[in-house]
């Protein structure tokens, strides 16, 4: 059957068809939908959300030790978190086939950087497979498992946003079961004390050379004949852009690009006067060519390093023209905290109290936008707490009264717990605010260790932030109703006034998850509205000004009494549910 699948759906389908038994991940755009789709095959594939990518990686590696085909998926920066197990897993090698999916985000649609994770394959000395559409995702995943098992190595499988989220036709197949290998204790391979690790390093180098020889003739690397005068080398999504930009050219399409098939590339380049190397972001392939002394190539000198490519950019880069067309200036339409978002009360209150925050990765990062403007820093998962503590150590304890750490529940579970222990251990006065909407909201509502439900839909134990704080030594830890503006204000004042570490858990469900609780829109009594503008400072998309400068509420957006933050901040009580006004 021929169906349309996104690259992420195709990875999930590949898990099913290629006999994978265990799949793990922590959600992160653009990789999230991989596990969300693997769970559809739960009769055949066990899947789970882990608290972070490092743990997800280690669980998958353990499953590989256990002798089954296993997959771990993450966004590009997630692999930084998992880099520690990655770098050593590669020397111990897989038992059951082991594939690591990295979904990179050129153009940074939903990310903090544009890192090109192909370098991780080289760094960790493992093969790199780069599909170019969903059919290849499905097919190449099977080959990736074969490579993993044949050579005893994890395989890095690289997607980018336009592969993960583009839907392209796929021919579905059946599931092939892969027999589980019996677990045999093998400490010389799996216990990396230096004496073992020195021997394993030699093994890795030999393995790499063997895989390079394999790559020279692998069907994943192929030549598409065209104009004998124009040669192009490309891989992944860049190949598709290059095919459209130079439809007549002859292509060397690399699907197994590391270990780099240098002789294949050399022979290809010898056929042409000039070969274009088309790569998004980093000149990964080009560096191998230049290192091999192949110089009749044009790559980074013309193809831009920053942002996503498309066929027009590739064409223009090569021709030197600019056919981008003129943009008409239009006011920006940035994403904002949704109407009814529980995070709004925290940032509104911080803003009113002139308290800054070190913040973190999630929807609440949108608290940086005007008028809330409640965020000073946002770097990576969990950084908020360490950043706050560090500022306090540099500037002094008094500074902790003016700077709090704001972190979401899922991000806290991911990387905040150790930071909190650090604050307690090193006697910080830091106030840590967990904005707890009880879900991983930004990536589309995934469960985590704090929600009480697993990926496969079973109820389970639920992490208790208060008990956790108490057990690491934070004496003042409390829950606050995020929709009670007065309670939020009191809690933040008290927490920042004291000289001790404090944990505030601002509880309120993500508005998008409780549509059933939405009620009729609040209305403004415009006769009594004094146009003071306080409600506008909530930055709620439902509230705007009318021609007299008075507040008006868009009934299409307002979620009703369920939120009513605006009604609470109104000093003259002129906002109310319709029947009470």
């Amino acid at each position: 059957m021929r169906v349309l699948l996104s690259g992420n759906e195709a990875v999930a389908r590949g898990c099913y068809e290629h006999g994978v038994k265990v799949a793990t991940a922590y959600p992160g755009t653009p990789s999230t939908e991989i596990l969300e789709n693997v769970v559809k095959y739960k009769d055949d594939v066990y899947s789970q959300w882990s608290p972070n990518e490092k743990v997800a990686f280690e669980v998958a590696m353990g499953a590989s030790f256990g002798g089954v085909r296993t997959l771990v998926a993450m966004k590009h920066v997630g692999l930084n978190v998992a880099a520690d197990p990655l770098m050593t897993s590669t020397s111990v090698g897989g038992d059951g086939g082991f594939v690591i999916v990295t979904a990179d985000d050129p153009g940074m649609h939903s990310s903090q950087n544009e890192q090109d994770n192909r370098y991780y394959a080289k760094f960790a000395k493992i093969p790199l497979v780069e599909p170019s559409d969903s059919q290849e995702v499905l097919d190449f995943l099977g080959t990736a498992y074969e490579i993993s098992e044949q050579f005893g190595t994890p395989v890095l499988f690289r997607l980018t946003t336009r592969l993960s989220h583009a839907k392209t036709p796929v021919e579905l197949g059946e599931r092939t079961e892969v027999a589980q290998k019996e677990y045999v204790k093998d400490t010389s391979s799996r216990v990396v004390i230096p004496a073992h690790a020195r021997r394993l390093h030699v093994k890795v180098e030999k393995r790499l050379e063997a895989i390079r020889e394999y790559a020279e003739t692998s069907p994943l690397n192929r030549v598409i004949e065209g104009d004998p005068k124009v040669g192009v080398i490309s891989s992944g999504i860049s190949y598709q852009y290059a095919r459209d930009a130079l439809p007549e050219a002859t292509f060397l399409k690399l699907g197994l690009s590391y270990p780099f098939p240098v002789e294949l590339a050399r022979k290809f380049c010898e056929r042409f006067e000039t070969v274009y190397v088309v790569e998004e972001n980093e000149p990964f392939i080009e560096e191998f060519l230049r290192y091999a002394g192949i110089t009749n190539i044009i790559g980074r000198e013309k193809i831009p390093a920053c942002g996503e490519l498309n066929q027009r950019i590739v064409r223009d880069s090569i021709s030197g023209e600019d056919t981008a067309g003129e943009k008409t200036p239009v006011p920006p339409r940035p994403p904002v905290l949704c109407p009814g978002c529980p995070h709004r009360s925290t940032f509104y209150t911080l803003n009113r109290l002139k308290i800054g925050s070190t913040s973190d990765i999630g929807c609440y990062t949108l608290g940086v936008m005007p008028p809330l403007e409640g965020i000073d820093t946002c770097i990576c998962m969990g950084a908020s707490i360490g950043n706050s503590l560090g500022m306090e150590k540099a500037i002094g304890k008094e500074f902790a009264k003016k700077m709090v750490a704001v972190i979401g529940d899922s991000t806290f579970v991911h990387s905040g717990m150790t930071g909190l222990a650090d604050v307690a251990y090193n006697k910080g006065a830091t106030t840590v605010i967990v904005v707890d909407n009880s879900i991983t909201a930004m990536t589309g509502h995934q469960d985590h260790a704090g929600t009480g439900t697993t990926l496969m839909g079973e109820s389970t134990t639920k992490l208790d932030y208060i008990k956790l704080a108490e057990s690491v030594g934070v004496k003042d830890a409390r829950r606050v109703n995020a929709f009670d503006m007065e309670a939020v204000k009191t809690a933040i004042k008290e927490a920042t006034d004291n000289d001790e570490a404090t944990l505030l858990v601002m509880e309120g469900p993500c508005a998008l998850q409780v549509r059933g609780q939405w009620g009729p829109a609040l209305v403004v009594d415009s006769e009594n509205c004094t146009a003071c503008g306080l409600c506008l400072r909530l930055g709620c998309p439902a509230i705007s000004k009318d021609e007299d400068g008075k507040a008006t509420i868009n009934p299409l957006f307002c979620v009703g009494e369920f939120c009513s933050m605006c009604a609470q901040v109104c000093p003259v009580d002129c906002i109310a549910v319709p029947d009470k006004s």
């Binding site: 392209t168 598709q240 027009r312 981008a324 998309p541």
Partner: protein, 191 residues
């Protein structure tokens, strides 16, 4: 080669049902046995931000995204969004705009003269009141299917093919409303 590919660029504001409309268009093309690629970005854009979906179909499609100056049709579910992406329309391409105005968060009023600026850039622009037609069809949220109906008029698939795809995608109890929305949208541009 290029003339064998049809590029439809669909844009609007998060929450307007853009992805469902592009899903239905993709289904129709796939059912015809064509090669088809559809691309959009998930995540931040859904928080009330600007949303775009690229749909390309034909004999053999390579890139999943439409580049600047390539779109045969740009269908914008919101007025200002048409202008934001207008450089993607190819010379001689067509623009279909829902004249609905959604003020971006942080702005107090809607910017003026958007209609004129769109028509200056692309003379072959049609404005329709998709919100009104959706209401007429039975639900305000059917704006996306009204717009689908409107741009469907300029693509080579039959009305039956469209309706089959709509029925397969929308919730059962909304089928009637959506088919009506489709017809109203189609009629609005075929006069």
């Amino acid at each position: 080669m290029a003339n064998k590919t049809t590029d439809v660029f669909i844009c609007g504001v998060g929450g307007q049902g853009i992805l469902l409309a592009s899903e239905i268009l993709s289904d129709v093309a796939l059912a015809k046995g064509l090669d088809i690629k559809k691309s959009e970005v998930h995540g931040m854009a859904q928080r009330g931000g600007s949303v775009v979906s690229h749909v390309r179909f034909g004999e053999a499609i390579h890139s999943p995204v439409i580049a600047e100056g390539e779109a045969d049709i740009l269908a914008s579910f919101e007025k200002m969004e048409a202008l934001r992406w207008i450089q993607f329309v190819k010379p001689g391409g067509k623009v279909i705009v829902n004249s609905q105005e959604i003020v971006p968060s942080g702005m107090e009023t809607y910017p003026p003269a958007i209609d004129r600026k769109i028509s200056e850039r692309v003379p072959d622009t049609m404005f329709i009141d998709a919100l009104k037609l959706a209401k007429e069809a039975g639900h305000l949220r059917a704006v996306n299917i009204v717009m689908l109906g409107a741009f469907s008029h300029f693509l080579e698939f039959t009305e039956d093919e469209w309706k089959t795809a709509i029925k397969a995608r929308v919730p059962k109890k909304t089928i009637e409303i959506n088919l009506r929305a489709f017809e109203l949208g189609r009629a609005a541009v075929s006069g």
